[in-house]
C-alpha cells in the first residue's frame, strides 16, 4: 500500500508547487523590477540597470553579511555567467555549456544538464557562457558550437535544439539570450574568424527562426556602402552580449563587435557598419530603427559589446529617454534611445586614438604612429563587464582599466575558413621590453605584471556632466560587473578575488570578503522567505551571502 501511495503523494506535492513557480510570462519579464526577489534576465531587467530594489541589506548592516552557501564548479577556467533566480530556484551555466538548477537558499543542486558541443566548435577567448533566458517554464541557452537549446526548467531535459551557424567557420554563442514577448533573441560570436554576424529571433515553442538581422549589411542593404568589394563577407560584427529592451518603444538595443580582420583596417576601407555600433531593432520584426557607430573603421578591436543601460534622465531641462554606454574605446556616451541622436560624450580614461568627438559623436581620429602606444589598450577602457545605474544617485558605474596601453600592429591577412582572421596583433606597453603585460584573465594566483601596466577601478560618472563623481582604484585590473541597490550599496569584485560592498554615493568600502578567485561576472541579489541574498561567482565557485541570522 505504502509503495503506491508515496509516489502519488510526491507527485501531488510537485504539482501543487508547479504552476506558481514555473510560468515566467512576458508581462513578468517586462515588470521584473517589481519582483526584486527574482533575477529574471541576464541584466536583471530590460533596462539593464543592474539595480536591485531589495532593501534588507543596507549601508548600516552590510558589515553583517555572512556566507550562506558555496557551489563549487567542476569546470576550470573563467566563470563569466550571471545566474537567473526564478521563485527560489537559481539557474546558472558553467563552461562549456552545462546548466545547473540550484536551490537558491541552500546551494543544493536539483538537476544538471550537460550539452555536448561539436568538436568543430572554436572560440577565440575561452569556453565561456554568460547565462540563460527564461520564458514560460523553459530555459534557453546558446552553445559554443552555435546552437540555441531549449531546456525544460523543471526536468532539466532538452526540448529542442537549432543550429544558427556553422561552428567550423567560427560561429558560436557565448551570450545569454533574451526573451522578449513571444520570441527568444540571440546573436552569434566569432569576430576573430571572419564571420558575418547576425542576431535572430526564435519561436520559444518550436525553435523556428522568425527573423534575422545581419550586422554586416549585404548588397542592396543600407550601410553596405561602408564596405568595399567583398570585405563585408568576412566583416565580423559579432554579437556576444545580451541586448536591452524598451517595451514602450518596442526596440531592442544590441552592441556589435569588432570588424574582421581585427587589426588591419586598411584591408576593409570604409566605416564598416554596423561593427562597433549600437543598433536599435524592432523587437517584432528585427527591422533596424537606428544605429550609432562608436568606432568607424576600427583597427584596435574595440568591440562595442557593452550592455546598453536605459534610463529616463533629465537632459537640458526635460526628461529624456536616454541610453548610456561606456565603450571599450574609452568614451562614455549618452544617446537618445528613441532616435539614436548623440547627446553627449567624453573620455572616461586616457584616450589618444581620438582627440574627441564631433557634434554628432563621431570620433576625431588621431591615429598613433606605428610602434607607439595607443590608449586605451586592446582590452579597452572597459569591456563586456556589466555596468550599473542607480536611479537614486543618478550615477553610472563601471569597471575601468586605467593606465593601460597597447602597441598595435597591422599585418597581412588572408581569409581561410575557420582560421583566425586577425590581420595583426598588439603588445601591452610595459616599462621593460618583454616584461609581462596584463593578460586577458588570470591564470595564476601571482600578479606578475604589477600595476605599472594598468590597474582597475570602479568609477562613478554623472551622465549630466560626464564628470567622475568618485573612483575606487584596485591594484590589479578588474573584469567584474556591478550591482547597485535601493539602499545605495554597490557590489563588485575584481581579479584579486575581493568581493566588495561600496557606498554608491562615495565609493567608500563598507565591507569586503576575500574569496580568492577572479570575479569576472556581475553580482546579483534575490530574496527567499524574506531574506535578501547577494550572490557572486569567484574563481570556480558561486558564493551566496546574506545577513547573519
Amino acid at each position: 500500500m505504502t509503495l503506491v501511495l508515496r509516489p502519488l503523494l510526491a507527485l501531488a506535492l510537485v504539482a501543487s508547487a508547479w504552476p506558481a513557480s514555473a510560468q515566467i510570462t512576458p508581462d513578468r519579464l517586462q515588470h521584473a523590477s517589481e519582483e526584486p526577489q527574482n533575477w529574471l534576465t541576464y541584466s536583471g531587467t530590460y533596462a539593464s540597470q543592474r539595480h536591485s530594489l531589495l532593501r534588507q541589506v543596507d549601508t548600516g548592516n552590510v558589515k553583517n553579511l555572512e556566507l550562506k552557501w558555496v557551489l563549487p564548479n567542476q569546470a576550470f577556467g573563467a566563470w563569466q555567467a550571471t545566474p537567473l533566480v526564478v521563485d527560489g530556484v537559481m539557474y546558472v551555466t558553467q563552461r562549456p555549456n552545462d546548466v545547473l538548477a540550484v536551490d537558491a537558499k541552500t546551494g543544493r543542486v536539483f538537476w544538471q544538464y550537460r550539452y555536448t558541443n561539436s568538436p568543430d566548435a572554436r572560440v577565440c577567448c575561452g569556453a565561456n557562457n554568460r547565462g540563460l533566458a527564461v520564458l514560460g517554464s523553459t530555459l534557453f541557452m546558446g552553445t559554443l558550437d552555435g546552437h540555441l537549446v531549449a531546456i525544460d526548467a523543471a526536468g532539466g531535459r532538452p526540448l529542442w535544439n537549432v543550429a544558427l551557424g556553422d561552428p567550423a567557420l567560427g560561429y558560436s554563442i557565448t551570450m545569454a539570450p533574451l526573451a522578449v514577448k513571444d520570441k527568444i533573441l540571440v546573436g552569434v560570436g566569432g569576430g576573430e574568424y571572419g564571420i558575418r554576424g547576425f542576431v535572430a529571433a526564435f519561436d520559444p515553442a518550436s525553435g523556428k527562426e522568425l527573423w534575422r538581422f545581419y550586422t554586416i549589411p549585404g548588397p542592396g542593404e543600407r550601410g553596405h556602402e561602408t564596405w568595399s568589394g567583398d570585405t563585408w563577407k568576412t566583416g565580423g560584427g559579432s554579437v556576444w552580449m545580451t541586448p536591452s529592451y524598451d517595451p514602450e518603444l518596442n526596440l531592442t538595443y544590441w552592441g556589435i563587435g569588432n570588424p574582421g580582420p581585427d587589426w588591419n583596417a586598411a584591408l576593409r576601407p570604409g566605416d564598416n557598419l554596423y561593427t562597433d555600433s549600437v543598433i536599435a531593432l524592432d523587437a517584432d520584426t528585427g527591422t533596424l530603427k537606428w544605429h550609432f557607430q562608436f568606432t568607424p573603421n576600427d583597427t584596435y578591436d574595440y568591440d562595442s559589446v557593452q550592455v546598453a543601460v536605459l534610463a529616463d534622465i533629465p537632459w537640458r531641462g526635460s526628461q529624456t529617454k536616454a541610453l548610456m554606454w561606456a565603450n571599450r574605446n574609452g568614451f562614455f556616451y549618452v544617446l537618445n534611445r528613441e532616435t539614436g541622436a548623440f547627446l553627449s560624450g567624453a573620455p572616461f580614461v586616457k584616450v589618444n586614438w581620438a582627440s574627441g568627438l564631433d557634434a554628432k559623436g563621431r570620433p576625431i581620429k588621431t591615429t598613433q604612429p606605428a610602434g607607439s602606444p595607443t590608449w586605451p589598450g586592446n582590452q579597452g577602457g572597459t569591456n563586456w563587464y556589466s555596468p550599473a545605474f542607480s536611479p537614486r544617485t543618478g550615477l553610472f558605474y563601471l569597471s575601468a582599466w586605467e593606465g593601460y596601453a597597447s602597441i598595435f600592429r597591422s599585418e597581412p591577412a588572408t581569409y581561410i575558413p575557420g582560421r583566425n582572421f586577425a590581420g595583426g596583433g598588439h603588445t601591452v606597453v610595459t616599462p621593460v621590453p618583454g616584461a609581462p603585460g596584463v593578460r586577458i584573465g588570470r591564470y595564476s594566483p601571482i600578479n606578475d605584471w604589477t600595476d605599472v601596466v594598468g590597474h582597475g577601478a570602479v568609477i562613478a560618472i554623472d551622465p549630466q556632466t560626464l564628470q567622475r563623481k568618485w573612483t575606487f582604484p584596485q591594484y590589479d585590473v578588474t573584469d567584474s560587473g556591478i550591482l547597485t541597490t535601493a539602499t545605495d550599496l554597490l557590489f563588485t569584485g575584481g581579479r584579486e578575488g575581493y568581493f566588495y560592498a561600496l557606498d554608491a554615493r562615495s565609493g567608500e568600502v563598507l565591507w569586503k570578503a576575500s574569496l580568492g578567485g577572479q570575479i569576472v561576472n556581475g553580482p546579483i541579489s534575490y530574496a527567499i522567505d524574506g531574506k535578501q541574498y547577494v550572490a557572486v561567482i569567484s574563481g570556480n565557485s558561486l558564493y551566496a551571502f546574506a545577513l547573519r541570522d
Binding site: F76, Q80, E192, E411, T430, P433, G434, A435, G441, N447
Partner: protein, 261 residues
Amino acid sequence: MGGDGLSDFSAFSAFIAALLLTATLGAQADHGAQYSQAEIAAGYRVYSATCVQCHGANGDGISGVDLRRGVFRRAASDEDLARVITSGVSGAGMPPFKLEPAELTGVIAFIRAGFDQTVSVRVGDPARGRTLFDGKGACAACHRVQGRGALSAPDLSGVGLVRTVGALQRSLLDPTSAMVPANRPVRAVTNSGDTVEGRRLNEDTYTLQLLDAHGRLRSLAKSDIRTLTYAIASPMPAYGSRLRPDEIADLVGYLASLREP
C-alpha cells in the same frame, strides 16, 4: 575579442601536450649561432606573411608549440627547424614551405631571437655557460638554479621558459633596463618603524608578499606600511665589462636551457 584568453576550451589536451613536451625540452639546442638584426628582420617578414596564419602573432597559436619561447614538438636544433619548415609535418596540418635560403635562415633567426627584432642575439654553449654561472660570473651568489645558490634574486630554474634569448642577453648587459617590475626590490617601513627589505613576490590592493633579506616569507598589510619603495635600479652588475662576448653568449645559452616548469 574579449573574454579570457586563448584556448582553455582544450585545456586538457594542452595539458597532455605539455606532458609530452617535457621530454623534448631537456634537449635544448647547442646551435651556437649568431643572428644579425637584418636576418631577424627578414625572418619577421616571412613569419608575418606565412607562419602567422596558424602559429599566431605570439607564436603560440598551435597547442604545444610556443615558437617565441623555443617550445617545439619536433625540433631542437636549427637543422631540425629547417627540416620541419621545408618538409612540413604530415598529419599535423603543417604544409611544406618553399623558402629561399635567406628566408629560411631569417625565419629561424626570428624564432631564435624570441620574435625580438631589436637585438642581435648570440646563443652559446650551455655547458660552458653553466661553468661561468657557478664560477667566474658568480651568479649563484644571488640566483638559485635547481636548489643551488642564493635566493636574494629570482630563481632561474625555469627562466628559459619565461624569457626570450634576447631578454636574457639584455638582462646580462643592462640589468636595470631589463628588470621587470614584478622583480623590483622593495623596502617597506611599517607604522611601528620596522624596515622590511626584500624581493617582491606578489601584491594586491591590500597586501604585499615578499621574501625578506633573511630568507623569510613575509606578508604585509599595506595599511601597516608607512612608506613603500620599489627600487628602479637593479642591484645586479652589468656583465658586459666583466665577461667576454663569447662568455655572455654561453651564459645566454645556459639560461635559455633552464626550463624547469
